[in-house]
């Protein structure tokens, strides 16, 4: 039960965790109590000012909401492919990618404008040189395929990492999300897409296996970013919360 307390913000746990665990040991709770603790954790994230943090402006929720929407659109789009197997790509992925980009930028655009611009230009140049489109990495030759896949992986992984950093996800969970949401699915799906598996080469199931987890990872990160708050490009950068000294 005390594992649920990990859902609370670190500052909140520092103040109340020991007392909370003591209370749970003396008064164990069931399923309803667990739900109540879960709601309490959401409330603690929504109101950091209760434990001395700076209150969030509503604009701080925007990046997280965009990331969540991107993850949901992405996941929904690939689920639709899996269930209905439509031929057309549609605009779902494009919209999701734009939302991801806007969610990731935030105050990074102020602090890291030059490296971001250089990275994007380098990736675009690599994609152009390889003659591949970012959304369709399977070119005619192996070199095209390798360059396109590498560029797509770097771009996707980089954006997911930046989003996870903005959401305050710890290093361990961050790597877990990148591995589970991107690296492992792609490694599993590439041979299938290349025609080495039992499925239709490049068919919908292989595509979904490779790409759907990425949307799920974005949804998880987006929800955390929404709860935790993350500044937009129009807000001042986040400063460390002021610790209140209270007399007892």
């Amino acid at each position: 039960m005390s594992r649920l307390l990990r859902l609370y913000p670190a500052a909140w746990r520092e103040r109340y965790e020991a007392e909370f665990i003591g209370t749970l040991q003396e008064r164990p709770v069931g399923l309803t109590g667990s739900v109540d603790i879960f709601y309490g954790a959401i409330d603690a994230h929504l109101h950091p000012e209760l434990i001395g943090g700076a209150p969030h402006a509503w604009t701080h929720r925007l990046p997280g909401l965009m990331a969540t929407a991107a993850g949901l659109i992405w996941s929904g789009f690939y689920l639709r492919i899996l269930l209905a197997a439509p031929e057309e790509w549609g605009y779902g992925v494009l919209i999701a990618m734009l939302l991801m980009l806007f969610a990731v930028l935030g105050d990074y655009i102020n602090a890291y404008l030059r490296p971001i611009a250089l990275t994007i230009c380098a990736l675009l140049a690599a994609a152009l040189l390889a003659g591949v489109q970012p959304l369709n990495v399977i070119g005619s030759g192996m070199l095209n395929f390798a360059l396109g896949a590498t560029a797509s992986l770097l771009l996707s992984g980089g954006m997911l990492t930046l989003a996870a950093l903005r959401a305050g996800v710890g290093a361990g969970v961050r790597w877990l999300l990148i591995a589970g949401g991107l690296l492992v699915p792609v490694i599993v799906a590439i041979p299938i897409m290349g025609g080495f598996g039992p499925n239709d080469p490049g068919g919908a199931p292989a595509m979904v296996v490779a790409i759907l987890p990425y949307g799920i990872a974005w949804t998880i990160i987006g929800l955390r970013m929404t709860l935790r708050g993350s500044v937009t490009i129009h807000d001042a950068p986040i400063t460390k919360p002021i610790t209140e000294v209270s007399a007892t």
């Binding site: 109340y16 007392e19 603790i37 309490g40």
Partner: protein, 92 residues
């Protein structure tokens, strides 16, 4: 001290917060005992709601954390309840 009713100031935690204040009028209490008292006064209240209300009351300076003689954390009223605060319980 807030001038607006706790029900308005604390939203869904207002009722629990009010009963915490009422319970603490009988003296300092640890969180587990406080949970029992609030449940007795208000029906089912979970620990998440209890600590949410405690954090709000503490933030507003209405209750204070203390350490009991056994070295365990507890809470007490920062100052006696005002008449208007007591009358708020009638609204619940």
């Amino acid at each position: 001290m807030p001038t607006e009713p706790l029900k308005v100031a604390f939203g869904r935690f207002g009722e629990t917060a009010m009963w915490i204040l009422v319970a603490l009028t009988s003296g300092p209490m640890r969180a587990a005992r406080l949970l029992d008292e609030v449940r007795r006064l208000d029906g089912h209240v979970g620990p998440g709601a209890l600590f949410g209300a405690v954090a709000r009351l503490e933030r507003r300076g209405l209750i204070q954390p203390i350490v009991t003689g056994e070295g365990r954390p507890a809470y007490r009223l920062a100052q006696p309840l005002r008449a208007d605060q007591v009358s708020q319980t009638e609204g619940f």
